[in-house]
């Protein structure tokens, strides 16, 4: 885990170093004299070897210092801190939505295998995993905002404007972001349930005369959910990646919106900061999944690796 985090920071640092342009020149602008450039480069530590620069960068990082935006000179950590809760809420909303739709759909589909219901659910799931989120978002805007006028087409409302207004702005981005995951969760839960239903202990349960309902929902579901929980946890990071696109569609002011503006303005410290943060959240959610795994399934124990 620590190694992965260290690896992530090495990759992000190398990215920062590979980006074209001289940060000192970017900060000073075109009219800077060579003397000024040299002075700023020294002050920023850019005349040091890469390894030393990495050490300094890592030390600052551990103290929560992600550098300063080239554009508005604000600390990157501060910029991200104001945007991150917005993205986090959107991601969690999408994830809950996907879990509430995808998992029961997958279970039903497996329990009623090869019926009309199963075919409808598997078709929905296939539709979900093939739909580009940005197009789905636009279709939702067309229908619910422009045509029906029920929900706002874009923007964000803070809690100060009331809970109802806040949620109204959250619904469409949340649904666009959650669709893919609900489809892939339904597919995954279905195949995991089918695997479990084919196992010996299920046959034993049926043989001793248990009701089918109890066999499916008590015995099979519990076992089938273990891999599903893993997938759900792993998908958290992918959702944060997908949020970048969805935030762009709905002009939703989260870290995704921030990173895209930063990319277009070549504001690299901000880009690196967001990439680093999302990767760290991703790594942490994977760790939580591992912990949840041993708790859900006592048969699994991790040895010292």
């Amino acid at each position: 885990m620590v190694l992965v985090l260290l690896g992530i920071s090495v990759v992000v640092f190398v990215m920062l170093k590979l980006t074209p342009g001289d940060p000192a020149a970017t900060m000073l602008g075109v009219q800077a004299t060579p003397d000024e450039l040299a002075r700023v480069r020294r002050a920023m530590g850019l005349d040091q070897p890469w390894v030393v620069q990495f050490g300094i960068w890592l030390r600052n990082l551990l103290q929560g210092d992600l550098g300063v935006s080239y554009i508005n000179r604000k600390p990157v950590a501060e910029l991200i801190a104001t945007r991150f809760p917005v993205t986090l809420e959107l991601t969690i909303f999408a994830m809950l939505l996907a879990a509430v739709i995808g998992i029961p759909a997958g279970v039903l589909s497996a329990a009623r295998r090869y019926t009309g219901l199963d075919y409808s659910i598997t078709s929905f799931a296939l539709f979900g995993v093939s739909m580009p989120s940005f197009w789905f978002g636009i279709l939702l805007i067309l229908l619910f905002s422009l045509h029906l006028g029920w929900l706002p087409a874009s923007g964000y409302a803070s809690m100060q404007r009331g809970l109802a207004e806040h949620l109204k702005h959250l619904v469409l981005p949340g649904v666009s972001l959650g669709l893919f995951l609900s489809g892939s969760l339904a597919r995954f839960t279905r195949s995991s349930m089918i695997d479990t239903l084919a196992q010996d202990f299920i046959r034993t349960g049926r043989a001793k005369g248990l009701q089918e309902r109890i066999v499916v929902y008590r015995h099979a579901l519990r076992n089938a959910l273990i891999p599903t929980v893993t997938v759900l946890g792993l998908q958290f990071g992918f959702l944060m990646g997908g949020a970048v696109i969805v935030e762009q569609v709905f002009a939703y002011p989260g870290v995704g919106w921030l990173v895209l503006i930063a990319v277009s303005q070549r504001d690299y410290p901000v880009v690196q900061g967001v990439v680093l943060l999302v990767a760290a959240v991703f790594a942490l959610s994977n760790l939580l999944v591992d912990v949840a795994y041993t708790w859900l399934d006592p048969r699994i124990r991790y040895g010292g690796d």
């Binding site: 190694l3 992965v4 690896g7 992530i8 090495v10 990759v11 992000v12 990215m15 590979l18 980006t19 074209p20 296939l126 539709f127 995993v129 093939s130 739909m131 580009p132 940005f134 197009w135 636009i138 279709l139 805007i141 067309l142 422009l146 892939s184 597919r187 995954f188 195949s191 995991s192 695997d195 990071g237 992918f238 944060m240 990646g241 997908g242 970048v244 696109i245 762009q248 990173v259 895209l260 990319v263 277009s264 070549r266 690299y268 880009v271 690196q272 967001v274 990439v275 999302v278 990767a279 991703f282 790594a283 994977n286």
Partner: protein
């Protein structure tokens, strides 16, 4: 469970390839044919590939021809899918856009396969320190959400179609490395590999004649699923303005510029989006079909 003939069932004769190359395609095609959806997907992708290949002949107009007097026209017999804000024919642009999508998909996945297979076979076959160094590096790359890593790489490389191919290719390398390593470990443990080694085959020979054919099924399934992702990612990056640049027609950038006219000319966003959706759907059903046909153990 009945499985079609794969490397595991092949006789232990060292000098024979794992399966006869002559019926290599038939081996995939026979079980796949029964999967009707997958055949439908294959038809869609074939048509798409043909229209991409012969775009100049199929498209009714030039994708770049500007006719301001005909701008923002709704679909009509003259312009089947309408015209955009420069009066360009949407259908022609979608047909030419399929070139970009398929090209980026094929080359990006090609990069990922080429590098990923070498790393995966290397890690799995050599084991030990090489294995841990390669796989830990792959773990680090996998620690970034795919699309965000692609955006980060695009920020360094700058926006262009060629760079999109590189970015998506890099993002998918660890996935191929991981699955290929897994099946390399499986094939390596087979008796016929042991037999080949006992008969004095060299390492490169064992890898080329036995390990690679044995991992082929896994690679094929992964390729079809990765193509779907690559096409989606190219569209997303172009939509975000980081990929293919206007005026070159790409489905993602058409969708993005059509957004301005969403109320007056909804066909500008509907049709390019439909093209992306249908292509990705077709690739996904082919992927599902291949997985069922070749490797029942693989799940999503």
């Amino acid at each position: 469970m009945a499985r079609d003939l794969t490397a595991t069932d092949a006789p232990a004769a060292a000098r024979q390839p794992a399966y006869p190359p002559a019926n290599g395609l038939g081996r995939i095609w026979r079980p796949l044919r029964r999967h009707r959806l997958a055949v439908g997907g294959l038809v869609v992708i074939t048509l798409l590939a043909l229209s991409a290949l012969f775009a100049d002949l199929v498209a009714p107009y030039s994708p770049l021809h500007i006719a301001m007097r005909e701008r923002l026209q709704a679909p009509s017999p003259r312009h089947l899918l309408g015209t955009d804000d420069f009066g360009r024919d949407v259908l022609s642009r979608i047909i030419h856009g399929s070139r970009i999508s398929l090209e980026v998909g094929a080359i990006a996945v090609g990069i990922a396969v080429a590098v990923g297979v070498v790393l995966g076979v290397g890690a799995g076959y050599l084991g030990g320190r090489t294995d841990s160094i390669i796989m830990r590096t792959m773990d680090v790359l996998l620690a970034f959400p795919a699309i965000l890593l692609a955006i980060g790489i695009m920020a360094i490389l700058g926006p262009s179609t060629a760079n999109v191919m590189i970015a998506i290719g890099i993002v998918y390398i660890p996935i191929f490395a991981r699955v290929v390593r897994g099946s390399t470990l499986q094939v390596k443990a087979q008796e016929y590999v042991e037999a080949a080694r006992a008969m004095g085959s060299s390492d490169p020979r064992i890898v080329v004649r036995h390990i690679l054919p044995g991992t082929l099924d896994t690679i094929i399934v992964q390729v079809s699923l990765s193509l779907a992702f690559a096409i989606l990612a190219e569209a997303a990056l172009s939509f975000l303005g980081l990929g293919t640049q206007p005026p070159t027609p790409s489905w993602g950038s058409m969708l993005s510029s059509g957004r301005e006219w969403i109320e007056r000319a909804p066909w500008l966003t509907l049709f390019p989006g439909m093209a992306i959706f249908v292509t990705v759907l077709a690739l996904n059903v082919i992927g599902d079909g291949l997985r069922d046909a070749l490797d029942p153990r693989l799940r999503i």
